[in-house]
Symmetry: C2
Subunit: 326 residues, 2 copies
């Protein structure tokens, strides 16, 4: 067989977008929206995680369960939706023991309490490969209030919640690649990789203020690119304004190429949104109320694509491997 030539997004566009219903939003958004009870719509989202890719074989099973739920809850947060329930599919090796499953269920139970969501049903199959876990999450919004990717306009400011790069650096830390950090710093980053914090309250409060929104799971540049594509605009990100945790700052101080984790790393599960520039004070108030920091990192312009500039306005080239100045 010939080797695959297309990336994930090209494959979706070529093979799957033609199959999508109007409710699937042309697969340009990360969710589908269907009519719900009077005055409401359901937001549907499915996200899978694979052992060795999205979590490590030695990760505690309860945290794996929590990550599985939270990556889906984060997508609901990115639309301003309230969680309703979820379907669970587990593909486990036959020899996986019950102690693992019990701890996995404990993690689900803990997050069900924390986020007010319940299991609706599921399927369990056996696999000879790595553990593969999939959730289809159902959320709800008032009709027409879901914040889509397609609403960004030239002149909007670009905002992000929390800090960026911790997820990718956390995976590096778990792989022993950040020896110069303190154990406390490494633990902080590893925890950020293992346990995303879905920004559900913030997402809901941004309804009516944010024009376009999604969660950052593929990396800032890729995800901002999704917003630009769906909205027919371009974006400029000022690298110097990226919000960084003290641990990420220390990692980048030791090796500047690690700024790539904040620009192109995945697994941060923060909210990325655009809003009119004059909404900054309102957004700051919402950030205080929900106790989640929000930072303006750039602006939306006409055109196509995402550019990153340094403090002097000079362009920075970003690749998956990191970044470099021209």
């Amino acid at each position: 067989m010939a080797a695959p030539k297309l990336g994930e997004f090209e494959r979706i566009a070529r093979f799957f977008a033609p199959l999508a219903a109007p409710e699937g939003l042309g697969l340009l958004d990360d969710v589908a929206i269907i009519p719900g009870p009077p005055g409401e719509q359901y937001v549907l989202k499915t996200d899978a995680i694979v052992e060795g890719v999205h979590f490590l074989p030695e990760d505690p099973a309860d945290q794996v369960a929590q990550k599985l739920l939270r990556v889906n809850l984060s997508d609901l947060a990115g639309k301003g939706a309230v969680p309703v329930g979820y379907l669970l599919t587990t593909a486990l090796p036959r020899e996986r023991d019950e102690a693992w499953l019990e701890r996995f269920a404990e993690g689900l139970a803990r997050d069900q309490r924390e986020f007010g969501i319940h299991l609706l049903g599921g399927d369990s199959v056996a696999t000879t490969g790595p553990v593969t876990l999939s959730v289809a999450a159902v959320g709800r919004v008032r009709t027409g209030e879901a914040v889509l990717r397609a609403g960004a306009r030239a002149g909007d400011a670009v905002f992000v919640s929390g800090t960026l790069g911790d997820g990718a650096l956390g995976l590096s830390a778990l792989r022993g690649e950040l020896p110069e950090l303190t154990p406390t710093q490494r633990d902080f980053l590893a925890d950020r990789y293992r346990l995303p914090r879905p920004r559900l309250q913030l997402g809901r409060r941004l309804i009516g203020t944010a024009r376009a929104m999604m969660d950052v799971s593929d990396g800032l540049i890729a995800d901002l690119g999704h917003i630009c594509e769906a909205s027919g605009v371009s974006a400029v990100v000022e690298a110097a304004r990226l919000p960084l945790s003290p641990a990420a700052r220390a990692a980048i101080a030791a090796d500047a190429a690690r700024l790539g984790a904040a620009l192109a790393g995945g697994d941060d599960y923060e909210l990325l949104f655009t809003a009119p520039a004059d909404a900054a004070a309102e957004i700051a108030a919402i950030a205080r109320e929900t106790a989640v920091p929000v930072t303006a990192i750039g602006r939306i312009e006409r055109g196509k694509g995402v550019r990153v500039v340094d403090a002097q306005g000079a362009p920075i080239a970003v690749s998956d491997a990191g970044y470099r100045h021209f």
Copy 2:
């Protein structure tokens, strides 16, 4: 790690049932039901298939796609629901080429047209293991009309659509285990394994007539056991009345133990339901209208469990491996 001691159903009961919302029907049904637009409810179902278990590596990709969709549509049929849309999760090896994906998408497109369902969204991940495909299907019913597992009553007759055992025998044929059959018979059975026929029209027409219903995917005995458990009743199946295709009949004539495929084999995706005994004429009329044969195979009684009896009323013991007389 200790070896697993519990079967799939015990695992669900112990670890997952405590996590279920009321809408999850205690996980005793195979679907969840949530409120929809006025007068309607949504029926939600997820089912996964794994290469080497539910389909074979050499199976054409378009038929794999169709099987994936159809096993989920069959669950909607088992509730009397009308298909609305589906979310798709694919876990593929990185080296899987685009020709495979293109043919896979063709199979989805074909069945979308045939069954009036559309893609709503999805996720694609890479795996180092076998291809793992999961669908979360959304159907709709008028409020309160979904036919659940829990409605069977002592005195009901037990009915099944189509023929039983073809799916399991089809897998045997593909493995070269049925050399005494003609190529035409083997092809018939292989096609039944590869391409389930979800009985959507029949399922809808049985609303108001069937008291309990589901599709047969785990095997007749196991699935009738699910209805009995959810309904608090027992069932008797008369082995001599099981509907068999000519090909299955030929396979069983060559080796009587293969009757086990009809009793305990999976992958038939026919409808299994109970109805008052005096509804037989009405059910025969529905079967004619929808052009799907329906056969009475037993009855519901008080008590627990499923018994199989031969033409003389003597008990037959059934195991996964086949069956034997006492």
